[in-house]
Symmetry: C2
């Protein structure tokens, strides 16, 4: 493992990252053509990004709807600590849950789940509900998902009330 900081990534690295997120099967040759670098130069940069863990792997993007799971929902769970979902169950118990995040705030967990039908979703909610209070948000439509991670612009100045400015 290399010590490689995100801050060391130059514009070319970000372009490579963008291209590879859009098409993970690009050859070094084609990738080089797009970012104006030779294949060996590309190969070295990609290997560096991989060994630094910036590129964690490559995967097929599956359209869940076309794979028979058209329903998407966000479920906020406020567990009873005694039998919190994260302590008493395992990922295999809920194959429809595709993301699990621990949250700040009153709801301890945010789940993202896919289901084949409303009946399926209903059953899932019922199975999850025993672990605590739940707030369900059914997605009507998705504008976009899986947007590539890209370079962020400089932090913009934050408007601060004059009387409360942090340090002068």
């Amino acid at each position: 493992m290399k010590t490689f900081q995100a801050s060391e990534m130059d514009e070319t690295d970000w372009r490579i990252l963008g291209e590879l997120q859009a098409d993970g099967r690009l050859s070094y040759k084609e990738l080089g053509r797009r970012v104006h670098l030779s294949a060996p130069a590309i190969a070295e940069r990609v290997r560096r990004l991989e060994s630094a863990g910036v590129i964690a792997g490559y995967g097929a993007k599956v359209d869940a709807g076309r794979a028979g799971q058209p329903l998407l929902a966000f479920l906020q769970l406020r567990c009873r600590p005694a039998d919190c979902l994260l302590r008493t169950t395992t990922a295999e118990d809920f194959p429809e849950v595709v993301e699990v995040h621990k949250l700040s705030g009153e709801h301890c967990t945010m789940l993202k789940a896919r289901a084949t039908s409303l009946a399926h979703l209903e059953g899932l909610i019922e199975r999850l509900g025993v672990h605590g209070d739940m707030r369900t948000h059914i997605v009507l439509s998705t504008q976009y998902e899986g947007r590539p991670v890209e370079r962020q612009p400089e932090d913009r100045p934050i408007t601060t009330a004059e009387g409360w400015s942090g340090r002068t």
Copy 2:
């Protein structure tokens, strides 16, 4: 484009889908070895999944944290219809927003956003806030994300109160 239903996917198709989601760069030969099929047979199945849109593409998986964006937040927005986010802005205005979903319920939109720092996140929230009420959920840690879409088990029977059973 073929008329290809998700219901026609057999166990082998699901295994292929699983392997390709885990590693989108597998060769047909290696993929065939794993699911016990020859390379030509695999190639045909993969092409069928691609042209049916079940496989929407291939991409590099980027570790946002290692790419300099360690912060993740879910933002629920209840827009004023007049200047709803989805009507008055474009994706380029908010590169930190990686997902946009329209929701049922009182909050019309669920956003997922990544930021480089708390100051950055603060600025983002401020810029988004002008479009309506917002509820912010900062992710403390992510248990998992990007779980592969997999075959769902049969719908389990839903417990129904006797006196309210739908049809008898």
